[in-house]
Point group: none
Chain length 234, copies 2
Amino acid sequence: MFQNDIMSTAINKTILLVDDEQDILDLLKYNLEKEGYLVHTANDGQEGLEKAKAIQPALILLDLMMPKMDGIESCGLIRKEASLNETIVVFLTSRSEDYSQVACLEAGADDFITKPIRPRVLIAKISALLRRTIRIENGNTLQSSSIVINRDKFIVEVKGKGIFLPKKEFELLELLVSRPGKVFTRDQIMSSVWGDDTVVGERTIDVHIRKLREKLGDEYIRTMKGVGYTFSEN
Amino acid sequence: MFQNDIMSTAINKTILLVDDEQDILDLLKYNLEKEGYLVHTANDGQEGLEKAKAIQPALILLDLMMPKMDGIESCGLIRKEASLNETIVVFLTSRSEDYSQVACLEAGADDFITKPIRPRVLIAKISALLRRTIRIENGNTLQSSSIVINRDKFIVEVKGKGIFLPKKEFELLELLVSRPGKVFTRDQIMSSVWGDDTVVGERTIDVHIRKLREKLGDEYIRTMKGVGYTFSEN
DNA sequence: AATAGCTGTAACAATTGGTTAACATTTGAG
DNA sequence: CTCAAATGTTAACCAATTGTTACAGCTATT
């Protein structure tokens, strides 16, 4: 049920794990991928920051204790990076002392998880943190002022009229509506809707955009030439 | 310093505490008010829900175990209430067992804090949770006193009015606004906006500057003859 | 296996925005 | 004050990006 929630959405489900211990990376990767997340890994803070900038993950799991650059320092650098302002940072702390937990949060982290890691709690926490990132979410619907997206039925309501959309078109619209006004680049659309591994031609996105406009009306999706597409309320 | 962060923003600083034990309410209220939050209290889930609807708090701290209506049930009702959609819900759990923590999160909570309550951790957690909503609301923006550049929406706000700029103009303005008052030479502009490999003519920069002035007004970009261009706040 | 509908592609059309050229204007050094 | 150098202005051109259409291959369903 949780799994389905995640699998059916086209929103960013990329997680970056940063830890110097391979055992922990493997454990976390296994558990998160089982839940439908796209997992990338890095072995130290420096590599973590670089990968984060490149892949724009929804969430970063950061070990507190690492060689080269520790978690606190990495977190500071992540928080300075404007393009990562929506990224959630969660620390893995081995100790449960107050001061290290407070230190994590003051460094700009959103949360921390204490070792030993209990997978169910980890999954539930991550799910709860990501749940918040979608603006107005009521049950299984996503709505802006003019459009209601029903995730269960693959149906979109525009001005009270229900429209059925095929999967790809639905996912594309879902992505755009998840952040009205935000311009999604073709790359972002590509990796969210089609995934990082599948490769499709250049015109494919345009064609799907066109089909959406055909069904919804031209007024909702704006082209920002040279940049990408955006959903606009007006 | 943290206090300043909170005090300096004009956002909702209201917190609602819901617990049946007066001792805990007092302890929490004292600590939170010391940090500059506006604290309201309720003694059970029913009263909590009513007060929440009335005062629209930014965050609700909810005890898991309460007479009449327990935390899980209250949380469910809060999540159903459309006006409380953006409100953050945090549970206070006395036990640290996995299942109750997972239950809280699955009930729609954003986080939980285990008793015994350690005020410093509590404060840091609440601060972190609220900080994130500020971060997301501010978006990926770059602002001077008179202009807000929203990188996500690819829009520039001048005196409250949103203006769309084509890619190159946007990038040029972004560069100038990134360091108000600094004079950028043509060479610097060239390599920042166009890259070191592409070669364009001498007048290209002028033309883009002109288009920016046309759209923003003449007062923002000053020519330093023989040197370059600068963005001025006045 | 037949069907219907979804998905991606290729080929071409339309549009936008970046660049340039040509000329006008301003600036500041002498 | 003069004049050369630097910058401003305009419109037209062209290339890159996006839109459009028809169609072929694929997938799920019966």
